[in-house]
Symmetry: D2
Subunit: 373 residues, 4 copies
């Protein structure tokens, strides 16, 4: 992870500002021969797209992705496949409303990156947050679509598990529910509570935070490269790099601080399909290497910083000002982060898989087995 | 961060197993001309050293560091300084008790990396956890000592803020207290509570988790390189890579999920020394760039996995076994993580500083100012 | 350098195939506040553009570059400047002639990358050489235009010093001449010789090799990062990565193998502007660090592999075939490499400069001086 | 390649100065399960060791290597194998003669890195060249020994093909001869010529340059990662990073500049073991990817800069001086570079192999075949 590139063998570089002509990514190191079309990438982008409900920004962006390189017709199947060369994907900005930005151009909106970009660079594209806009995450989702192609049998799914102070009841958690409502909520009984909470927040011109949980099922044992390329360390970086993210935990996470040793260490037994664990406090990662259990992470998102309440701040001239942030904003940025959390998880796993295959040839040793399989 | 190296311009590579002849690190990219002696590094290592109390492992390791390269006498001052070439530091293992490991050599201790190292590599140094041992963190502390030299005016300090279910009262938080007790506890009234809790845990042959908080005061605005080299993303990776770490949060962290927009976004005013914030929910980082406020992070550590309770597991032959983990273990690994959390924070900040200086020439724009200062 | 990205702090990622919809690059890590417009980049691209003479390919490509991100109006000057975020540049392919590729789709042209791409990836975009086409170098030239902005006082200029067996007379070398002819030739008397040679080659349906020399004047002492990031090592990699490059030498290069120690080591004296060397066998680099003298490198280019002569080869079915390569090809690919060699040199130097500034703060110690200036 | 680390998946970090207590390397990313002992590494180090003849430095260094980490007994075979964790190797400096360096401490020896290290860093370990000493290459040879373990069926061998103006006759080239004389000379008739030349050089207190050729036989098609991770680009960087290297060429190299297209492009036919080439101008690399032919490179080494002739130079005070460089120096540094060239080639190939396996799963498509084998 460095500047605008992340990954080692599966490497993603993103570019683009909120109100520039376009944004996109270059995905490098993808294995050749994987079927890939723009339509397949679009499916995931459509999940992230704004303008799809009362509680998300009303900016209308089709987010239509074009694949500019790295794919070609496969003479054997006739379909379009990856060629192993860099896959450049571009999304043109359509609804970037040319308007007079007026004072906002020189004001620092509290909670935004306005001030820090000014301090670091001296110049910044202030339109819609520029590079710091959540629009950048569209590029991540496009890259994640490619990563999923590599991961084949791995299922990656995320859900919102808390909005504001309202956390789901984990006894009612049902992954199938999350696509049945506008909130990626896996607990059907929580839906009306969140709906009311968001309605209040919206009316108050305020915003609210959220927690997103992601799990990857089907990750075999052996992925991850200790010590500093630990799978959980790379997940932490990837998920913390998402806009508005303020915390990442793996498995039992912060709750494990209150655990006893007995509650913490997952016991093992031999299952029908090989080694199995009797619990998953570890979140599928031990010593930075996947254990074969589902990889589980949670990400905390702060409330959207753009609110209508009058707030104290400064401008570039160093003057004290009071400002309210108008515009088309999600009251709960965590809602739209769900596909992004999935995408970043997919990218990290795809990269870990390729590196594992590079160093070891792939596969894993199984207890009682006869070597790597 | 990748395999056993982390950092971009300030880069640390560590090596060594718990019971091998030695362990160490190579610190590359350090600026030249910084005064540095082994004695100065030793000060920090002594803080991490085991065998110093009832609640830490009784393994006796002097952890005496040698600097093998990268320093030389400065003709001007007569003192020893860094030369800009790689600084190799080595710590010999002394108390690695040559003994018969017997069954442990082929058994997977629950909660340890035994199974995942076996699955990934097929062969592992099972003595004392091998590469996955917390002894590796001595190398990080040595590297952190060098990083602190680069950071000059930045103060980095960590404390334990929770052990098991017992969190400190933040109203009583006093950084000066943390060196007055055996628990890095900044809340004097919490000390006896933790002492009793740890005594119970120790008697029960169990263990307990903890949360460590770190703050870096004096970091100027402008450090960090969005999007994927965000300062918080790099901190997250660095802190999550520490043994037993299960979660990282920045500023208000997971609590911010329950915040309203008004509670979240830190307001700004002009202070005597330039821009100031009226709160620090952001933990000193906005858009991945430091804001000039203290950088604040918290790390959750799971309980030590080595406990005396009989636990269900497997061995390399795939047989189901019941085992208890004897040996010299910390009941609360979070206690000894404090200097490690500080060291990793120092390394991340030093690297961010050098990269900021590389891209921009250093310094920052100040509101109302006349360019970069 | 790795896959499709090169550089450390100044980092360039390129993408695109010869006959895809477009190609381009993402330039990351550029300092903020540098004036940059598409028109300025276009100047350099126009130098590389095909279709400009009898001895270069007749493919007509305007190579019009668009800057899609990373620049913004500077409120102070009103001009467009870099913002420090990734600069995405795109060149649409216009003259990619949709035609039936027929057998060429499954044949391996001798001397091309056709066979090795097939062997490695199993699938390849065979149209116009796909990713292996020299069209990719347009992206390098665009990136080089940005690098030059960083380098300010450094002048980078390249010339062709040999075509086929005909080397220039170095006593007649006049840098001003190189833009006075179609061959980037700095020796006016050599121009007619090359013209006749190329005419013969063209009529024979053959091709010819060339040597390009580049020098960078004004590089101060101190750039480059030994041991493995040596300035000459990075130049070697950058220049060897150019299509058809088969050799790179620095300063006296291969000739120095026949030197005596006295001929080799450049002596020093104090000049009016500080230390000076009495010769430049070293090519401006000692121990991997710039010495303040001009940095000098030469690159050998093999003849274009596409020739009309019937050649023995294979196809994807493993059948032996005889083929001649028709199409629009440069008889001497070295001619069009001149702007590319300059661009790669600029990128390497810009990266070295930023890293030097990152590690040391910039500047250099001067003999007899009082510290870093 | 960056600072003191090179490689991507197979990654080598070296450290140490000529006259410090020790030097060494950390080899990261090595596959697990490879048999490896210090004795096996020592074999290669002994080839590089100084003090073994009249024409190499008389410094007596046993160069005894210790493996400090990353290996462990294999329970299956009882032998010592790599574990997949970093392999730290150390060589203690024994004969570093503690003496008064006097004026040399502040003088710049012409042709050395003395001046550039001073300019860049302001402080330098002047004893024996410090970090810029050829002693650093011992670490490379140790790393190369590990790389060879990964490469199994690949044979890597280098020879000296020119000393001073005396090049071998390629018609007499016999690889078996190179170990039959003190000069790694594969042309028996050239041995007495070189012997006389070196004797003259030695008596004159001068030095001489050389060219080393390396070939790797048995590299399958498909290794290398275009565009900027081309196998030849990585070789060029690795070989140019060796002390005193001034040029690198692949296959026909600079000679190809004088070729016609017919002479250049290697034709193909179907051989008994699959595709074969009828010549090898390409040096086994096309488009940056190995073709299955022997990979061939040549490296030019300048004469040792340390000579007894009085030379003009400067000192740190900026004063003009005349100096002669006494000490124990090789008159022809190219002679001792042979094992280093082999080692760097091995490291580059091992890294390319692992990355190829990572991206594609390994193997290659064969014309007429049924997919990747």
């Amino acid at each position: 992870m460095s500047h605008n590139t992340f990954g080692h063998l599966f490497r993603v570089t993103t570019w683009g500002e909120s109100h520039g002509p376009a944004l996109g990514c270059v995905v490098d190191g993808c294995p050749p021969g994987l079927a890939l079309t723009a339509e397949e990438v679009q499916v995931w982008l459509d999940q992230r797209r704004p303008g799809q409900g009362k509680f998300v920004t009303q900016r209308q962006e089709p987010d239509a992705v074009k694949i500019l390189s790295g794919v070609f017709e496969d003479e054997r199947t006739g379909g379009q496949v990856t060629t192993g060369t860099p896959i450049s994907m571009m999304i043109e900005n359509v609804d970037q409303r040319s308007r007079d930005y007026g004072e906002i151009a020189t004001q620092f909106r509290p909670g935004h990156a306005d001030y820090t970009y000014f301090a670091k660079y001296g110049v910044r594209d202030y339109r819609g947050g520029g590079r710091a806009s959540a629009r950048e995450t569209a590029s991540r989702v496009a890259a994640g679509a490619v990563a999923r192609k590599i991961l084949g049998g791995v299922t990656i799914r995320a859900a919102v598990v808390q909005i504001g102070p309202h956390a789901i009841d984990r006894n009612r958690l049902d992954w199938d529910q999350r696509t049945e409502n506008a909130f990626w909520c896996p607990d059907a009984q929580m839906v009306p509570v969140w709906e009311e909470h968001l309605e209040q927040v919206r009316k108050a011109g305020s915003s609210t935070g959220a927690i997103v949980e992601v799990e990857a099922v089907g990750v075999p044992a052996g992925w991850g490269a200790p010590i500093y390329g630990k799978l959980d360390a790379e997940l932490a970086a990837a998920l913390m790099s998402i806009n508005a993210s303020k915390g990442v935990e793996i498995g039992a996470g912060f709750a494990s601080a209150a655990f006893s040793g007995e509650e913490n260490a997952d016991e093992m037994r031999m299952g029908n399909d090989g080694p199995m664990f009797l619990s998953n406090s570890a979140g599928g990662i031990l010593g930075g290497i996947s254990s074969g259990q589902p990889v589980v992470a949670r990400v905390a998102f702060k409330p959207t910083s753009s609110i209508l309440t009058l707030r104290r701040s400064l401008n570039e001239a160093g003057e004290e000002i009071d400002l309210r942030t108008k515009g088309r904003h999600d009251p709960c940025v965590g809602l739209r982060a769900v596909p992004v959390v999935e995408a970043m998880t997919a990218c990290v796993l795809a990269d870990a898989y390729l590196r594992h295959r590079g160093q070891t040839g792939g596969g894993a040793f199984v207890p009682g087995g006869q070597g790597r399989v």
